[in-house]
């Protein structure tokens, strides 16, 4: 019944024909209905995310005392479950002091289901190095070590230990759950707190915009400067990307670092259901670029899908409210936009080759 003459647009489908034939039972090469969702009933199990599986390890399980909509609880489960799958469940986790540790292990209850050790605020990387050394010495190198901490425990107080672990290239995957402040102690500024953000120690008073415009502390790039095998940034807003990066990291030995943005409803002043949305806006605005680096060189970055101005990201967070009320602070908004623009240019984030186009998946 097809007409002989085919109009433009058909060609794509002709190509697609080879790759798709459901009745022939071949793999579906693309699907629109929720391409970026956690799972998809149209897709083979092994092509879905770890989180889509009922068999996921739930490294941190129910009953923890994290706030409603906690991005860190989510990010930790995302990352560790992926790591657990990659290591066939053989993971030991070391945890720095902070929200994650406090809300997950108040005696007599722990939410962890894997072997987990908390020592101090600033030494997670070193403790993990010790665990790795012991495992190597005890001939249990099949057991992998993950260290995790918040931005405070990583970019501030734990920074020296982190750098030492990197420099020795110890066989540890360090996961930094960055919620951009000391939330556990009541939202104080950390070196990861963005400029202008209001915290308990960087109040926005009068014309003072909250946190200062410092030079910034780009820990992923500092990690790269150590030349370690793998560095990546990830976000709870893009699970496929996050799991892929954790899996990549688990494929190599040596020091690895993944910096994961985990919004904090309490500290950021967002509604509890906006956790993933605000993380998405951070990336789509260019303020939190997603990239991968190997041995100190950037090897990949995730282009922005639906570009937005930084304002869209800022205005849903009360920690930035002073930029919009009582009067618009154009100067600082422009300065923040400039930061995003720099990222966009540095990581080439506005190219249009994201793998989320059904046509590309089909091809």
């Amino acid at each position: 019944m097809d007409a002989p003459h085919i109009k433009a647009g058909q060609t794509m489908n002709v190509e697609a024909k080879e790759t798709m034939n459901v009745e022939a039972g071949q793999k579906i090469k693309f699907y629109q209905t929720g391409t970026l969702t956690v799972g998809n009933r149209l897709l083979d199990e092994d092509l879905r995310t770890v989180q889509a599986s009922e068999e996921r390890s739930n490294a941190i399980t129910s009953g923890h005392r994290a706030c409603q909509g906690c991005g860190e609880a989510l990010g930790a489960r995302y990352a560790l479950d992926a790591a657990m799958r990659a290591a066939n469940g053989k993971i030991i986790a070391v945890n720095a002091t902070g929200c994650l540790e406090v809300f997950s292990t108040p005696y007599p209850e722990t939410s962890w289901t894997l072997p987990w050790l908390h020592s101090l605020f600033g030494n997670a990387a070193s403790v993990a190095s010790g665990v790795a050394a012991a495992l190597r010495r005890l001939g249990k190198a099949d057991i992998r070590v993950v260290a995790q901490g918040g931005d405070g425990g990583t970019t501030d107080i734990g920074f020296a230990c982190l750098s030492g672990m990197f420099e020795r290239n110890d066989d540890v995957l360090y996961l930094c759950y960055d919620n951009q402040g000391y939330m556990n102690t009541g939202v104080q500024r950390s070196s990861a707190t963005p400029p202008t953000a209001r915290t308990a120690t960087t109040p926005a008073v009068g014309t003072a915009p909250g946190n200062i415009f410092g030079t910034g502390k780009d820990v992923p790039r500092i990690a790269m400067a150590h030349g370690i095998p793998y560095v990546a940034t990830a976000s709870v807003a893009d699970l496929h990307d996050l799991e892929r990066k954790v899996t990549n990291a688990m494929q190599v030995r040596g020091a690895r670092y993944i910096h994961i943005l985990v919004p904090c409803p309490l500290g950021w002043g967002t509604v509890t259901n906006a956790t993933i949305r605000v993380a998405r806006l951070a990336t789509e605005s260019g303020l939190f670029p997603l990239f991968e680096a190997e041995h100190g060189e950037i090897v990949a970055s995730s282009p922005i899908r639906r570009a937005v101005p930084v304002e869209d990201y800022l205005k849903i967070q009360s920690r930035f409210a002073h930029l919009f009320r009582p009067t618009r602070d154009d100067a600082h908004l422009a300065a923040l936009q400039a930061i995003a623009d720099k990222n966009i240019q540095r990581y080439n984030l506005l190219r249009n080759d994201h793998g989320n186009d059904a046509r590309k998946e089909a091809a």
Binding site: L117, S119, S126, S129, G130, A133
Partner: protein
């Protein structure tokens, strides 16, 4: 028992197998003793005067003299003990060494290791704490962390330093608690003297393979280092206290067993020297006891009824043993290399408490701070003044009063607003 002269220089393991005394540096001796205990993870950060110990160990690991051991050069003492904590929690026998500022820099981890009951052994090359910065020996560092929940043992000689390390690993792993072996910086660590090291076989019999009380293992996952609130914290602390008291019982037993095994009486709670019939008993810790013993011999020759107590176990503090050792004395003199400004000698305070139920007065002598020599003559004059009941409650040995008085005068002439 002297070593027959060897025509060829001693070499690594071969030498270790010779159960004979050798004239070597204290740090080397300690390193070899630690090596005999087969640690699986050693973390090192340089700080004078413990540096030679980890240097020797790194060489032993490199040459294969010490096998199956991870030697990790870390970026700070804080990291050093943290690595040891991780290694111990993962089931490895872990060791590190430090001194002075290094101990303070790792202070947080020191408490953490004991709180988590990890059987780590650490050598402390005792050194003063700044400011003013001072690299020489005294006991300020050990005193600063005396209440961190570790067992603290003090060595009088390098031979004892060796023996204490062998006992420390046994004690630590039996009770699952960390142990610190205190060795006077430079005075012992840098001293060349004769020491006897046991054979590896003998040490293997003495120290069985490490069986961790708890271990991180995917096969049997646990959560280590939970948050504990008011409802249970007191219980946790009480149990820590009880464990220390248990150590107090176990230390002498181990010392006796060690004596039976290696034929050397070392370690234990304390030793007495010529205390029988002594009216005056001097109590001290560490290497200064050698000079004290010489002084006592000298004074005894002059008919002075004086003896000494060499305190080896400082934490847990053996109140009963100290009281018993001093019970027949009419006065006790505590010679110590530390000062708690505004309070006096911390060791003297503990001894005073031990003698609380007696009428025996305790005199405190603060000596050897920041490496100041403690000449035998100075000690003898102190002891004689004590015999003549002329000793003030606290004496600062060989203090340069002129300098002090000048400074005080200057101090008084200054007021903030002039």
């Amino acid at each position: 028992m002297k070593t027959p002269i060897q025509l060829t220089p001693p070499k690594g393991p071969v030498e270790l197998t010779l159960p004979k005394a050798r004239q070597i540096e204290g740090s080397r001796a300690i390193a070899e003793a630690v090596g005999l205990c087969r640690p699986q993870v050693i973390c090192a950060y340089p700080i004078t005067p413990q540096t030679h110990i980890v240097e020797e160990l790194s060489a032993m690991v490199k040459t294969g003299e010490l096998m199956d051991c991870e030697f990790i050069n870390v970026e700070s003492e804080f990291a050093a003990l943290s690595v040891a904590i991780g290694a111990s929690a993962a089931g490895a026998r872990a060791y590190t060494a430090t001194s002075s500022q290094g101990l303070l820099y790792m202070a947080e981890a020191v408490y953490n290791a004991s709180g988590m009951q990890l059987p780590i052994v650490m050598t402390l090359g005792n050194r003063a704490i700044g400011a003013p910065i001072n690299i020489w020996n005294d006991h300020s560092d050990a005193m600063a962390l005396r209440d961190a929940g570790w067992v603290l043992l003090f060595a009088e000689t390098n031979q004892e330093a060796i023996d204490l390390h062998l006992q420390a690993f046994r004690l630590a792993e039996e009770l699952s608690t960390p142990v610190m072996v205190c060795v006077d910086g430079f005075i012992l660590t840098h001293a060349y003297e004769e020491v006897e090291l046991p054979t590896p076989e003998a040490v293997d019999r003495w120290l069985p393979k490490f069986q961790p009380r708890q271990v991180l293992d995917p096969a049997e996952p646990i959560t280590m280092g939970a948050l504990v609130g008011p409802e249970s914290f007191s219980e946790v602390r009480y149990l820590a206290h009880r464990k220390q008291l248990r150590a107090l019982e176990r230390i002498p037993e181990l010392s006796a067993e060690f004596n039976a095994t290696f034929g050397r009486n070392s370690g234990g709670i304390l030793r007495t020297y010529k205390t029988e019939g002594a009216e005056t008993i001097v109590l001290a810790m560490g290497s200064i006891n050698g000079t004290i013993e010489d002084a006592i011999d000298e004074l005894r020759r002059n008919g002075h009824a004086i003896g000494a107590v060499i305190l080896t176990t400082f934490r847990p503090f053996p109140y009963a043993s100290v009281a018993a050792a001093l019970k027949n004395a009419s006065q006790a003199i505590v010679v110590e290399k530390s000062l708690t400004a505004g309070m006096g000698g911390p060791l003297a305070a503990d001894v005073t408490l031990a003698l609380a139920n007696t009428s025996t007065p305790v005199y405190s002598v603060i000596a050897g701070l920041g490496g100041r020599p403690i000449p035998q003559a100075s000690l003898e004059s102190i002891f004689e003044r004590a015999r003549d009941r002329e000793l003030p409650e606290t004496t600062f040995l060989d203090l340069h009063w002129d300098a002090v008085n000048q400074a005080i005068t200057k101090e008084l002439s200054w007021t903030p607003h002039t």
